[in-house]
C-alpha cells in the first residue's frame, strides 16, 4: 500500500473543499471496496478524505412523499429501515441479497453506488486492463470472462457493475444528489453510471470533486408486485451472475406500470424502458414476460465463458416477473427460488 495522507472532514463544505484541493484524493466511507483496492495498488490515492463524520446518515421524507437516503446510511441500516422495508421492499430485498452481514454493516449507500467492477483483471496489476490503465488492453474479452457483461459492452471493456442495491434503485427511478465545486445538483439514476464505450476508466458521470450526498426515491408504490432475484455461485457472499429487479402495478388483470432492471450483465444497472413499455398494458403471463425478456436481450452478446448468461438472464427475467406478478417476492433469507 502506498503511503497516503488522511484527513477527516467535519462537514460537507470541508469535504468538498478537501476534494477540490487535491484531485488525487479519494473519499473513504465504509472502506470495504476502497481499502481492498488500495491493498492491491489498484487505487493509489495521495490523500484519503474520511467522510464518516458528515451528517449524511439519515433517511428523510421528501416533500413529494418519497424518501431521501443519506450517502452514509449503511446498507444494513437501509435494508432494515422500517420505511424502506414497508414502502420499498424491492430495495430492502436487493440490499439483503448483497455481500454479507458484516460487509453490509460497513458499506454505505454512496460507496455502494461507486463500488468498482469485480473484473479479475482490474484487480490484478500483473495484467493489463483498460479500466485501470487506459490503453493497456482488455484481456477479459478473450480471457476469463464468465462474470462479465453481455449488454452494452465495448471493444475496450466488458466489465459489469457488481451492485445489487443499484439494480433496485434503477428500477425504482431513483435520483442521486451530489455536491461539487459548482454546487448541488441531481442526476437521474439512468444517467449516473456509464457504459464503457472508449473510456472504460470512467464508471460514472460524476465530475472531479463531486461528493454524493443522498439518493432520493420517488413516491411510488410497488409493494404489491415486486421481486429481486439474484443468481450466483453460492447462496450468499457472492456477486450476481445475473440479477433481476422487477416492479409492477397490476389493475384488473393488466399491467399498468412496469419496471425492469438487471444486474451482473452490464457496466451499469441495466434498466430497459422499452421492455417496460411492452409490459405496460399487457396481461401478466409467460407470453408477455418472455417477450419482455427477448426485448431486453435483443442486443446481448456473449464472449465465450459468459455466453450462458444470455439464456440465464432470459429465464431469470421471466421468473422474476412471475414472482412479482404473483405477489410472491423472492425471499433473501430462505433463499429458495419459487
Amino acid at each position: 500500500m502506498k503511503r497516503f495522507d488522511y484527513v477527516r472532514a467535519n462537514d460537507v463544505g470541508e469535504a468538498v473543499a478537501a476534494l477540490a484541493a487535491s484531485p488525487a484524493a479519494r473519499i473513504i466511507a465504509g472502506g470495504t471496496n476502497l481499502v481492498d483496492l488500495m491493498k492491491y495498488d489498484v487505487e493509489t490515492p495521495e490523500r484519503v478524505i474520511d467522510i464518516n463524520r458528515l451528517p449524511l446518515n439519515t433517511i428523510e421524507a421528501t416533500e413529494s412523499g418519497g424518501l431521501k437516503i443519506g450517502a452514509l446510511v449503511s446498507n444494513a441500516d437501509l435494508a432494515y429501515d422500517s420505511r424502506i422495508a414497508e414502502r420499498y421492499p424491492l430495495l430492502s430485498s436487493a440490499l439483503l441479497a448483497g455481500a454479507s452481514p458484516q460487509l453490509r454493516n460497513l458499506a454505505t449507500t454512496g460507496g455502494n453506488l461507486l463500488q468498482r467492477t469485480r473484473c479479475y483483471y482490474f484487480y490484478d496489476t500483473g495484467t493489463p486492463c483498460n479500466k485501470r490503465e487506459p490503453g493497456s488492453g482488455c484481456p477479459a474479452i478473450e480471457g476469463v470472462n464468465r462474470i462479465h457483461a453481455i449488454l452494452g459492452t465495448s471493444d475496450q471493456c466488458i466489465a459489469t457493475h457488481p451492485s445489487d442495491m443499484c439494480v433496485a434503485m434503477a428500477a425504482l427511478d431513483a435520483k442521486v444528489h451530489v455536491i461539487g465545486p459548482g454546487g448541488e445538483r441531481t442526476i437521474a439514476f439512468e444517467d449516473f453510471h456509464r457504459l464503457p464505450g472508449d473510456m472504460p476508466e470512467k464508471d460514472t458521470n460524476l465530475q472531479p470533486g463531486d461528493l454524493i450526498t443522498a439518493v432520493e426515491l420517488p413516491a411510488e408504490d410497488f409493494t404489491a408486485h415486486h421481486s429481486y432475484l439474484k443468481l450466483r455461485d453460492r447462496q450468499s457472499y457472492a456477486f450476481a451472475l445475473v440479477s433481476v429487479a422487477a416492479a409492477l402495478k397490476i389493475e384488473d388483470g393488466r399491467i399498468t406500470q412496469a419496471r425492469l432492471a438487471l444486474g451482473g450483465v452490464a457496466h451499469k444497472p441495466w434498466r430497459d424502458t422499452e421492455a417496460e413499455a411492452m409490459l405496460k398494458n399487457s396481461t401478466p403471463g409467460v407470453a408477455s414476460f418472455s417477450a419482455a425478456a427477448a426485448k431486453v436481450l435483443e442486443t446481448a452478446r456473449g464472449y465465450g465463458e459468459n455466453s450462458f448468461k444470455i439464456d440465464l438472464a432470459r429465464r431469470a427475467i421471466v421468473r422474476t416477473l412471475k414472482q412479482a406478478a404473483d405477489g410472491t417476492p423472492q425471499s433473501q433469507t430462505d433463499k429458495r427460488i419459487r
Binding site: M1, R118, Y120, R315, R338
Partner: protein, 757 residues
Amino acid sequence: MSEISLTQNPAHVRHGSNVGQPLTRRDGLLKVTGAARYAADNHPESMVYAALAVSSIARGRVTALDVAAAKAHPGVIDVMTPENRPPLAEDPDAKNHPFMFRLDVLQNDRVRYPNQPIAVVIADTLEAATEGAALLAPRYDVEPARVGLDGNEVFTPQGVGVGNPPNDSHGDVEAGLAAASRRVEATYETPAQYHNPMEPHAIVAAWDGDRLSIDTPTQGLAMAVGRVAGLFGIAPEDIHIRSPFLGGGFGGKGVMSGPQVLGILAARMVGRPVKLVLRREQMYGPVGHRGPTRQTLRLGTAGDGALTALAHHTRTASSTFDDFFEPASNASHTLYASPAIATSHDGVRLDTGTPMFMRAPGEATGSLALEGALDEMAEACGMDPLDFRLKNYAEVEPTSGKPFSSKALRECYAQGAERFGWAARPLQPRQMRDASGLLVGWGMGTATFPALMFQAEARAAIKSDGTGLMETGAQDMGQGAWTALAQIAADGLGLDIDQVEFRAGTSDLPDAGIAGGSGHTATAGMALHDAGAKVIARLADLATSAENSPLFGAGNAGVVARDGRLFRRDDESRSESYADILARAGLPEIEARGKSAADPAVRNAYAMHAHGAVFAEVKVHPELGQIRVTRLVGAFAAGRVINPRMVESQYLGGMIWGVSFALHEHAITDRRSGRIMNANLAEYHVPVNADIPSVEAILVEEHDPHVNALGIKGVGEIGVTGTAGAIANAVWHATGIRVRHLPIGLEGLLAGGLGDA
C-alpha cells in the same frame, strides 16, 4: 470403561474411562477467547517484518529489480535477492527422497510459476516492507506460459502421489470389456484447487548464533527440523520449532515451504528476529495445491450387473520442476470387485507451483469420477445405485486379493440408507419435486481412505505424586489432537485425563510423525500407548518385586492399572497407588519411551481401509438450474473411535469439503499469462453457511483387531471422498443431466438442456 489390550506385555492391562468419551476440545477455550497463540501472534523483542515480492509472470527470468527504490523507502532495512541471499548448505533444488520438495528460495533469477518469490523486503513495519516489495517493480524476460492439460507434452510420470507406481493392472481389462454386456465410458474433469487454510503460512524466525528458534505452523515438526537442518547446515538439536496450533493445514503445511525458509534466511540476513506472513494471493503458488485432473473410466458389466472390467485413467499435471501427480486412478484399487482392474496415469508439466497432497489426495478426485461412472453404469443396468454397489461389493481387496483387516461397509450402507430414507428413491431421474416445484434428486457415493500409519515416539512418566506426564511432538491443526491424544495418553497410564499433563506441538519433544494421511491419531496414539505400557510395566516391576507391597509376587498373574493404582489381576482386593510404589522405591519419577510403526507382517497380510457411504439430496430449480444441497447423511466405519465428538466433526468437515468440491471450488487460470485470477477468498468460492444443509454423520461401529493395538484407522480425509460423487449423482437424479466437469455450475445444467419456463 474400555479395556485396552497390551500387545507388548500381555500380562498387564490398563483401564481408562477416557478413550471413547466425547470430550470437548481441551484447547477450545483458548481458541474462542483468542488466547491460543498461533505462529504469527508471536512478537519477540526487536522483531522486524519481511514481505515477499512475487512474480507476476508464469515463466521467464527476472531482469531487473529496483532495489534502490525499495531501500530508499522509509523503514526498509534490507532487500534480499538472489544476489545477496545468505548461502544455504544444501541445494534447494536437490531431491534426495520423494518427500523432499524443491523450493524457490531465491537461488537464481528464473521464474517457474506465478507468485513465485523473487525478493524479500525486510522493514521495521509490515506496511514499509509491503510497500518496499511493491517498489521493486520487477522487469522480466517473459516466456510463454504452459497452461492446461492439453497442448503440452504428455508423459508417464515415474511415480504418482509420493512414490506410487503410475500404472497398475490386474486381470485383462480389454477382454473384460469385450465380454461385457454393458459398457460405460465417461470422462470427468476436476479443476486445480488450493488448500486455503484460514491461517496463511507464517513464520517468526530468530537466530541466536547458529541456534534457530521458529514459530511456524507445520503438520510435521520432526520433518521440518530435518529440512531446516539440512538447508542451513546446522544440527537438528539447535533448531527449536513451536507449532502448538495450526489454523488449518489440509496437507498444505505438510512440508516446509519456500516462503518459510525465506523467513529464516531474512532473519539470518538482518540479524534480528523476522516475521513473514503470506498474503492470501501469495498462497496460490509456492505452498502447493491439488492438481487438475481429467479422468476416463471404462466399465463393463455382465448381465447381472457384476463388473467384468474397470479401467481408470487420469491425466494430471505437475510443475515443470518437481513431481507431485494427483494419484486419482488409485481410488479404483480397493472399492469394487472386478476380475480386471487397470489404473493408469499420465501427466503434463505446467508453469505452476508444485502440487501437493491436499485433503484426500487422489481419493477425493478419483472417488468423484469413480462414483460418477459407477452411477452411470447402475443407470445403464437399470439398477438402484446402492444395489449396484452391493452387487460389486469387494469381499477382499480386489487388486491385491488380501482380506480386509475389517470392513463394516455393508453396515455403513445399511445405516446410511436407512437414516436417509434411500429405499423410497425412484430409479429414474427427474421424478421427484418438492412442494414448491423444485426438482429433487438423491445420489450416493462410497467413501474410502487407507488406514495409514507412520512412525512416532513418545515419552511417558509417572511422578511421585502419582500424576502422569506424556509427551510427543504431535500437531493439532484443529482436528483435535490435543484432546484425542490426551485421552489415549491418560488411558495408557491408567489415569484420569486431569491427572496427566500432555505435552505436544514443539520439536524438542519425541517425533510424533506427520499429521497427515489421516494417520496421526493412530501413529502418535500408538507411540503414547506403547510408552504408557512400558512405564506401567516398570512400575509393576517395582511393586511386584517389593516384599512389603500388596502386589509382591504378582508378576506372573499381572496387574491392572486403573485410577492411579495397580491392582493384582487375579485378586483386585490387593492394590497399591502409583505414588506409594514410587515413594517406597524412593524415586521422584519413573519414565519410559515408546514407539510406533506399522507392522509390516500384518500390513502384508491385510488390506486396511476406512469406509463409508454418503447419501445426498439436492434440489435444483427446474428452469434456473440453481443447485442446492439440502441433505447429507454419511455413515463411516473407521475402527475405534477415540472421541466421537472430534470424529463426527472430522466427518462433517469432510462432507462440507465434498460440497465445496462438487459445487464451488475452482482456481481460474488466465490461459495467456498463466496467472490465477481468483486468488482470494471473495472469488475462490468455498461454501458459506447458507450452502450447508443439514449434515449428519453416523459413526458405525467397527472392531479392527489387526490395524494396530488400539484398533484406530483414520477419519480426517474420508469424509471428502464419496461426498462429491454423491452430490454429482444427485444432481443427475434431479435433472437427468450428467455434468462431468467440476465444479457443477448453472451453465453446466443449462448446456445440458435444462427445461424451460
